[in-house]
């Protein structure tokens, strides 16, 4: 066969046109698409991997059970680079695809704040994991939360420390980002209510390489317990190690980051004996246990809240779309908010009018590296 110029041109044209044709074929809807903004690069890239794993497990479950509206669901992911501009860019890339019916946002409050204006403009439900209480009170109806917010974590940390551990002189260590500041406010308010005192409040900037000044300040403050809101595993692990090296042994109740697989591995013995509030704890419910089994089949590290919330979000979202019977954003949102008694890995989802699905937390202990369930504290107000 001789290769003519026409044949080459034809081949080239076909090659160029193929992706567009394939995309067109997909667009007429043999799948239901859900967009997902997650960190693939940057300091939180590890948590992004866990988030994707959780979402994929749920995706497979839903698709095996017949999918959504009779079609399989499909995830379309974009890297947020662990930065706010990256998150905004990632969301706008996804938002420009009209066939995406709903989104999974970030587990980081600061990024959800950054994306919020675009989310409002897009007008489709965004399930997110950030725990700054303000996010569901922005007047943005499209933000639906799949983790208990920090007003609950603050109350649980305070209630456990003050009532169970009987400590009333607190040191609070927190990141200065939206998550850490939100946590500080929630915890101080809860401590104030419980009649405890904040001896010292130490904010730090993310990716600090040295926490000696923070540890020494805690040491000299006379505090008898630490409450913490750390954003990144490595910051938490460096702090934990320096805390122990400089001889501080007072009890420590931390926000969920203290019991993530990454932090537990990095800090090792420095975190033994600490307490954490956990939205996800294996032994807290049968649904949590089932998730742990599914997760163990695909991953070597134990599941944590990075993966459990995306798992629940895909589950609740799929059920809501099925119930709505359509991909109309308003109807999906209404169905999401009407969800009651959904047994997820993180707990029982009962959405309130603001879009908060969970209203309590588990308290867990780090026993020589193993995370042990202690108790669940649920709030009804």
């Amino acid at each position: 066969m001789t290769i003519t110029r026409r044949a080459v041109n034809l081949g080239l044209a076909a090659t160029l046109a193929a992706p567009a044709l394939i995309r067109a074929a997909r667009a007429d809807g043999d799948t239901i698409k859900i967009g997902m903004v997650l960190p693939v690069t940057g300091p939180a890239a590890d948590s992004g991997k866990y988030a994707l794993t959780g979402a994929k497990i749920a995706l497979e479950r839903v698709n095996k059970a017949g999918g959504v509206l009779g079609k399989p669901i499909e995830l379309v992911t974009e890297d947020d680079q662990t930065t706010n501009p990256g998150a905004v860019l990632a969301f706008s890339k996804l938002a420009s695809q009209p066939d995406i019916v709903a989104f999974l946002g970030s587990i980081r409050s600061t990024q959800n704040h950054a994306m919020a204006p675009d989310i409002l403009k897009t007008g489709k439900p965004v399930c997110f994991g950030g725990t700054d209480p303000k996010l569901t009170k922005l007047g943005n109806p499209w933000l639906i939360r799949f983790r208990p917010n920090d007003s609950y974590s603050g109350r649980v940390i305070a209630s456990y420390g003050v009532e169970t551990l009987a400590k009333k002189n607190w040191a609070i260590v927190h990141s200065t980002d939206a998550f850490g500041t939100g946590g500080l406010n929630a915890l101080s308010a809860a401590l104030d209510k419980a009649g405890a005192k904040v001896a010292i409040d130490q904010g730090y900037a993310n990716q600090s390489q040295d926490f000696t000044p923070v540890v020494l300040a805690i040491k000299s403050s006379g505090a008898d317990i630490i409450g913490s809101y750390f954003t990144f595993d490595n910051d938490l692990a460096i702090f934990a190690r320096q805390l122990r090296q400089l001889g501080v042994t007072i009890p420590w109740v931390g926000s969920p980051s203290i019991i993530t697989a990454g932090a537990v591995k990095l800090a090792g013995p420095a975190l033994y004996g600490t307490y954490g509030v956990a939205d996800y704890a294996v032994d807290s419910s049968p649904a949590a246990k089932q998730f742990a089994e599914l997760y163990a089949a695909v991953s070597k590290v134990p599941p944590d809240n990075y993966s459990s919330w995306t798992y629940d979000a895909i589950g609740v979202l799929s059920a809501a779309i099925n119930k709505a019977g359509t991909t109309d954003p308003n109807k999906i949102r209404a169905a999401l908010l009407a969800t009651r008694g959904y047994q997820g890995a993180e707990g029982e989802y009962n959405f309130d009018e603001f879009g908060d699905g969970l209203h309590g937390y588990n308290i867990v202990r780090n026993e020589k590296g193993a995370i042990v369930f202690d108790k669940h504290i649920e709030f009804t107000d």
């Binding site: 693939v40 040295d210 000696t212 923070v214 020494l216 090296q245 990454g262 591995k265």
Partner: protein, 291 residues
Amino acid sequence: MEFFLQLLFNGIGIGAVYALVALGFVLIFRATSVVNFAQGEFSMVAAYLMVVFAVDLDLPYWLAFGIALGGMALLGAIFNLLVYYPLRNRSYLPVLISTIGASIFLSNSVLALYGPQPQVLPGWLDIPGFQLGPVYLDSQYLIIIGVTLALVAFQYWLFERTLLGKKLQATSQDKEMAALLGIPVALMIMFTFVYSAVLGGIAGILVAPVLFVSIQMGSTIALKAFAATIIGGFGDVAGAIIGGFAIGVIETFGAAYISVPFKDAFAFLVLILFLVLRPQGIFGERVAEKA
């Protein structure tokens, strides 16, 4: 007082890391008049090599260290050939952009190969540290300070007392003149890259047990080291070392006595003050125009 001493020790420890990375910046700048923005990534790559050989393959620490540094020397040579050499006759800007590209390439390659989870690299010694009076001395920080001082001494000897050092200095001062005198300029620059990669690698391996091994570990250190280089006077070896220690101590004390959230700001505040008041740095000579 006990707090003061503790802060001073940790400040000097972290400052030593900045100084080592700053040294790499300075050497390459002197040889090529270009800031190598991938210097921080050299540290990161070396730390990952250590994780591979010392943790994953469980080789003896010294052997893993040797292999990692060998790997860094190779990386320095490849870096020179691919990133610098093809652009050597252009102005500084293309080379600078090329090093930024290399830095992104290196961090994303490691991300793709090793995954995003931060890793643990045990320290050189089994004892984590000991109490000396009121001060806790982290054994890894002691090693960092010791190795930095030893490397500074080695560097002084190399540049001031050996023929190779003289050739390197001649190359950095005037490439054309050096070439006319029969000095193999390309080889000297190659050596500089190899040596800088190894230096950055040592910094990364030393600091890994303290800061953990992560993709972004290099860039956070390099930013401070860059500030140290400017404070010391760009291109001055002694200045880079003193600048590194100064940044480490200033940010630690600033955080302790003024404000923790503004810890990073102190380093850059000092940088800005220097740029305004003494742009040539501590040891820099006032040069109106670089000939």
